[in-house]
């Protein structure tokens, strides 16, 4: 098939094998339809089938998009040869499939041939019982298109609730322009045994350069409805499919962001958390909410993405609180958003005493060496709340080895080496929590 300088995957329809024509479809898909037996050269072009629909199913856990397009093709009685080529794209050749949607009982794909001279082309031999036209689907995987979720959380003035806006963005670096495509986004983590980009092969940078040359002509997007598009969510096996209302044109090299949903009044709980293993050394403010009905959510899982938090600063102004990446959040699961440290709520850990006890020795020659000992440490946690509202604390203390833990304040055992204090502190006040740890070393370590 004729190559063009631009990236292309192509579809054309001809009687005989060798006629070459670019399609009007920007993606220039070339599919040739020819009658067998095939002879060389001087074949006549019959029709160029128009592409009727295209659907993109885009995955976010892997670099994969399932493209499905339909066209009405005319077949002659006998063996028909359909040629499909995809020069300068990121299409995985092993994924290309042909399927008749109408008259399927009259059409039979005999084989798929991958000619030696081109690794970006294939030919289907389709036998047909009679002269017919049939709506047919061609599907394939491409890489280079991705989608991402983002969230904006606008905290209310009292920080007890927020307005959560979920956004999805689609970015097309596939080398193809997909015009008027129905776009579906898959939330979930599918298993791939080989990367699609590797199967597509070729020089991706070269494609990007070509893509850049074509991206400018995409022009302004049509705003068909004059309102945000609806995104319909549907469960399928372990995944969710987000279908964007209507069709989208996302030229190569461009991104487009759409609103998935907006929900006001999502109740929030702030917990000042100390957990060095998870959040680092500082006392960290963790905002929690659940993706459930009680929190006015729970209609769908929340895909992994970046959450940016803003605070209402009055007069319709915002103050930026921070951002965090969040993993996939299932329906009914809890969300913890790290809002970072807060200078108005502080914690200080002070060691107030340190002793060594129960020393035991062994002789080596005429000298004694210590072989077992205990350390006894007393600590106080000083919590101070300078804010004008009550706050909650969750303080996680991890220890190593053979230790005993004691405190007058109630704590819970998180796991075999972690104790947790959960306390509240009224506005403008402070409190202290004391605890004592005895740790045994050397031969003092006991069975326990």
């Amino acid at each position: 098939m004729a190559g063009s300088a631009a990236s292309q995957c192509g579809l054309s329809n001809f009687k005989g094998p060798v006629m070459r024509t670019r399609m009007s479809w920007p993606a220039a898909l070339l599919l040739a339809l020819a009658l067998a037996p095939v002879v060389q050269a001087k074949e006549e072009l019959v029709t160029l089938p128009k592409r009727d629909t295209v659907q993109l199913t885009i995955y976010n856990s892997v670099d994969l998009t399932l493209v499905r397009e339909t066209r009405n093709l005319t077949f002659k009685k006998g063996i028909n040869r359909l040629q499909f080529s995809w020069a300068n794209t990121l299409i995985d050749p092993t994924s290309v499939e042909f399927r008749a949607l109408a008259n399927a009982d009259k059409l039979d794909v005999l084989d798929t041939s991958y000619p030696a001279e081109s690794n970006q082309m294939l030919i289907w031999s389709v036998s047909c019982e009679q002269d017919i036209s049939a709506n047919c689907e061609i599907s394939y995987f491409t890489s280079g298109i991705r989608w991402d979720a983002e969230y904006h959380g606008m905290l209310a003035n009292d920080e007890a609730s927020m307005t959560l806006t979920a956004l999805v963005s689609v970015t097309n670096n596939s080398g193809e322009e997909y015009e008027d495509a129905q776009v579906r986004l898959v939330v979930g983590s599918i298993h791939l045994v080989e990367e699609i980009a590797a199967l597509a092969g070729g020089d991706r940078e070269g494609r990007k350069k070509e893509a850049y040359a074509t991206m400018r002509r995409a022009g302004a997007e049509k705003d068909e409805a004059g309102r945000p598009k609806e995104i319909v969510k549907q469960g399928l096996s372990e995944y969710y499919i987000y279908s964007i209302e209507g069709t989208e044109t996302i030229p190569n090299g461009w991104s487009k962001r759409l609103r998935s949903f907006v929900q006001a009044g999502v109740p929030l709980r702030s917990v000042y958390t100390w957990d060095p293993n998870r959040y680092g050394a500082a006392l960290t403010r963790i905002l929690t909410f659940k993706n459930d009905e009680a929190h006015k959510l729970g209609k769908e899982p929340l895909p992994q993405g970046v959450v940016r938090l803003y605070r209402d600063a009055g007069a319709n102004r915002l103050s930026y609180v921070g951002q965090v990446s969040t993993a996939y959040i299932a329906k009914n699961d809890e969300v913890k958003v790290n809002a970072g440290p807060d200078a108005e709520v502080t914690m200080k850990l002070v060691r107030t005493s340190f002793k060594k006890e129960n020393l035991s020795f062994q002789w080596s020659g005429n000298r004694q060496f210590v072989q077992g000992w205990d350390t006894v440490e007393e600590f106080k946690l000083e919590l101070q709340n300078f804010r004008d509202r009550d706050v909650e604390f969750e303080l996680n203390l991890a220890f190593n080895g053979d230790f005993d833990f004691e405190s007058a304040t109630a704590s819970t055992k998180v796991d075999f080496r972690t104790q947790r204090f959960s306390v509240r502190q009224g506005k403008g006040g402070k409190q202290q929590i004391g605890f004592k740890v005895r740790t045994r070393f050397g031969t003092n370590v006991r069975n326990k």
Partner: protein, 371 residues
């Protein structure tokens, strides 16, 4: 008695090989005339998993006495030592007396004795390298994930240097298809299709399969007649899985390598991670006891909290491993029966109620004689 009859031809599977008949005298100066006899049956067999056998038939006119037939295969990947040449008719009086291998040539000469002048059909078999084969499958799973249709494709890529104008290709399971295949060309053919195959879906927690402790989603296909399969052993190959989305179209839901699956065995395919099922692990007790010198036992309690955020109950298969000498303690809880599949491994199932209601699993064990 030597005959001076000369006849040669391009060897069938066609390649750049050829066969010639000529007088037996100067072997190093053979005349290779290209009078081509008609090609007859060419068969390419893939029944051996590691080798491709080509068989071709040629009718050769022989004179009474000793005839020399020359066969050469320059530019192709025929395994010289594998060539077997014989009359198709096993009771033929024609005899192959010897085979001569000229130095430095991809060629040989057969000395054939014939009791009379006749046309004799011969069969030539040889192994041919660089014909690649690949099996792949497409499963289309129903919306309810109870059944699927299963398509089996066979793909051949010909890098052998030869050209197959018209050959019967025979797959390992005996399917034959008649195709032309030129050098460098590949062909993919649908060889089997099973319309309704029963499918079993399984959620698996196994740290050796996912070190972060994510729950994997598997489909298990039993290669058995009662499950809609079972007609042939299933070759190793990539399985791409699609699912009916209920809107008249399908979505791709994952792929996995399907291992070679004999009749009666299971093919387990991982499609991805079950994101709506979470397992949280905590070690609640990690004690040392019964110290003797540098030898000790341990007492360990692992707690697993399972949350299934789906709208319906799910059963999760747990595969837990403990190294060395160990025993399970009776107060382990949260699972009823278990199978210790090997010394290190224990398997059991846990029912996880819907909508995130947590269920806890206590795995209490003692490691013995650790040092």
């Amino acid at each position: 008695m030597n005959k001076r009859m000369i006849l040669s031809m391009v060897a069938t599977a066609a390649l750049a090989s050829w066969i010639g008949i000529f007088s037996s005298e100067p072997v190093h100066a053979r005349i290779k005339l290209a009078t081509l006899p008609d090609k007859e049956a060419v068969v390419v067999r893939f029944d051996n998993p590691n080798a491709v056998l080509v068989e071709e038939e040629r009718t050769i006119s022989l004179q009474k006495g000793v005839n020399n037939v020359d066969f050469s295969w320059a530019g192709t990947n025929i395994d010289k030592g594998s060539i077997v040449f014989r009359p198709v008719d096993g009771s033929s009086k024609v005899e192959i007396l010897s085979t001569l291998y000229p130095p430095g040539e991809a060629a040989l000469t057969w000395e054939i004795s014939s009791p009379d002048a006749r046309s004799e059909k011969f069969r030539l078999s040889y192994l041919m390298a660089n014909i690649q084969r690949e099996t792949d499958y497409r499963a289309l799973v129903s919306k309810d994930e109870k059944t699927c249709s299963f398509k089996h494709y066979f793909k051949i890529r010909n890098w052998s240097g030869g050209h197959f104008a018209d050959a019967d290709f025979i797959t390992r399971d005996g399917k034959t298809f008649d195709k032309a295949l030129s050098q460098g060309e590949a062909k993919r053919v649908l060889v089997n299709k099973w319309e309704t195959v029963t499918l079993q879906k399984e959620y698996v927690y196994d740290l050796t399969r996912h070190s972060e402790g994510k729950v994997m989603t598997d489909y298990v296909l039993k290669n058995a007649k009662e499950m809609g399969l079972g007609s042939i052993p299933l070759e190793y190959g990539k399985v791409r899985i699609y699912q009916d989305d209920g809107n008249g179209t399908t979505a791709f839901t994952g792929e996995d390598w399907g291992r070679f699956t004999p009749i009666g065995d299971d093919m387990r395919l991982n499609i991805g991670i079950a994101q709506d099922i979470k397992v949280e692990f905590k070690k609640m007790v990690n004690n040392v006891e019964n110290r003797r010198g540098n030898v000790y036992d341990t007492d360990e309690v692992d707690e697993y909290e399972i949350k299934n955020f789906k709208d319906s109950e799910a059963v999760v298969s747990f595969v837990l491993r403990v190294d060395g000498e160990w025993e399970l303690k009776n107060d382990s809880a949260g699972f009823e029966s278990f199978e210790r599949t090997d010394n290190e491994t224990i398997k059991f199932k846990v029912k996880a109620p819907a909508k995130g209601t947590p269920v806890k699993l206590k795995f209490h064990y003692q490691k013995k004689n650790v040092w």
